[in-house]
Amino acid sequence: MKLRRRQTRALLEAWLIQALFGKSRRAGQSGSGSLTPAVFTQGFVSWVFAALAFEGSSPRPFMAGTLAFVVLLATGALIGELDDDRERPADRDFVGATPTLRRTVLVARWLRQGIVSLLFAGGIAIAPAILSGFKTQNLVVPPLFVLATCVLSTGATILFASATRLVAALLGGDRATSFSTVVRALLLGGGFVAMLLGLRAMLGGSEVFPGGRSLLEALPTTWFADAIRTADLTALLLVVAFCGATLLLGLVTAQLPERSRSSAKTSMGGLTPAAIRTLVKDPQRRGLAAFTLDMLVRERSFRLRALPLLGLPAAAALLALRSDVEASRLPTMLALVHQLPAAYLPFLLLFVPYAENARASWLVALRLEDPERAYRRSFEVALGLLILPVQALLLVVDASLLSFEAALGTTLGAVGIAWASMSVIASTVRGLAFSIDPDELEVPSDFSAPIGFALAMTVLSFALAALQRSAGLMGGLALFVAGGALWAARARST
């Protein structure tokens, strides 16, 4: 019994040090933890949010809204920064190799999760919890609010981990990593929209929120807020059911083994390799273009940084679309939305030098041709292909608001402009791509080139809208053909 307690204590201590100091120690700093600044900044943000909604909202929407906001913040951090994927192999090798009982490890892991959740989620919930106490004139509310935040964010983390483990069991570990990255990006992009819409709903009534009152009442955060505020029996039952179901799901999925699958690709089939084969004749450049495309899609650190950047302008555009834009201004507005992905590419390319497998960069660096120039050329091809699914998605949004012909014209025109400007976009790639460890990230200081390009693209979007008005689908088609010819000619040239 004493031995088990000592083992649990040792594991807990090691994991807490990993959680609190891991990030800063990997960056070569000693003595400074990453939790304190994170709690302070996010706690400050949650106070600002709660203070903005404090005046002018009644207790129920105030508590439900602020609880949802804090849980979203805490969950985003708990599944992202604090629970780092890189710690898992260390756990497997060190903990798995020691004569520690499985149950001891499980208890220690749950305790660690609980403590980190209490320190972080509890910390950032303090400000809205106290303001909820003021709102309801009840002293019991603040501690219960903090507890609810811890339980809900831990529950959401367990649900997320269970879903990831389920994907790993069914489709393999690499797919599970992709799944978790996409969910994190959606959480961030969706959370930004939900925050703005939620604030409006808290002040103006639940019908302003898409999905209305019924959707908001189906959220677990609303059940917890109701249970704390009024001790309503239905809400209490829902809270108990949520906790029970989450725990059960966590226990069941914890036993699932990861499906092993070979990471080596056996065939080079599919549309994208065919497109690269057609566009690029030189075998070396073709290989580099395929590698660049693969890295852009698969590199975890790039996706973690790039997806939110791409998600935020999309979220802003969707928000603008939800507000009442006059029908006459809609085509111009949508032309601008279509230009956003290309306009944001230079900002995303600032993160391109970073990759988790940066040490393999010598493979490209040893080429005879100038590797930086070779990378720029391969980015032209890869980004030209990547922009297609994004524009197809925008076409669906566009076609739901305008006629299909107008939407298609705008989409084709936007693709044409993006292809024509691809060499300018790719020229913003600085240094050797995928060659620096993400922990050594240096925040870029010079944004003049990306900002200038984004402004130019904004002006071009007005030109695209004007062309769409005067020449219709044919105008878009002409731009598509011209841009495509320019892009293909550059890809084929030696």
Binding site: T36, W47, F54, G123, I130, L131, G133
Partner: protein, 46 residues
């Protein structure tokens, strides 16, 4: 062998000390985050 034990012991106690310091600075942050909403609440509700 003894040296190694001593080294690992001192490394462990340094880490534990770091953990304690971190928790202490967290308490300060919690205190700061408590004062802000108290001021807001009293200011808004008189």
């Amino acid at each position: 062998m003894e040296d190694r034990d001593r080294d690992s012991g001192s490394a462990s106690s340094t880490s534990t000390r770091g953990l304690r310091l971190e928790l202490r600075s967290l308490l300060l942050v919690y205190a700061a985050l408590t004062v802000l909403p108290l001021l807001t609440g009293f200011a808004c509700q008189g």
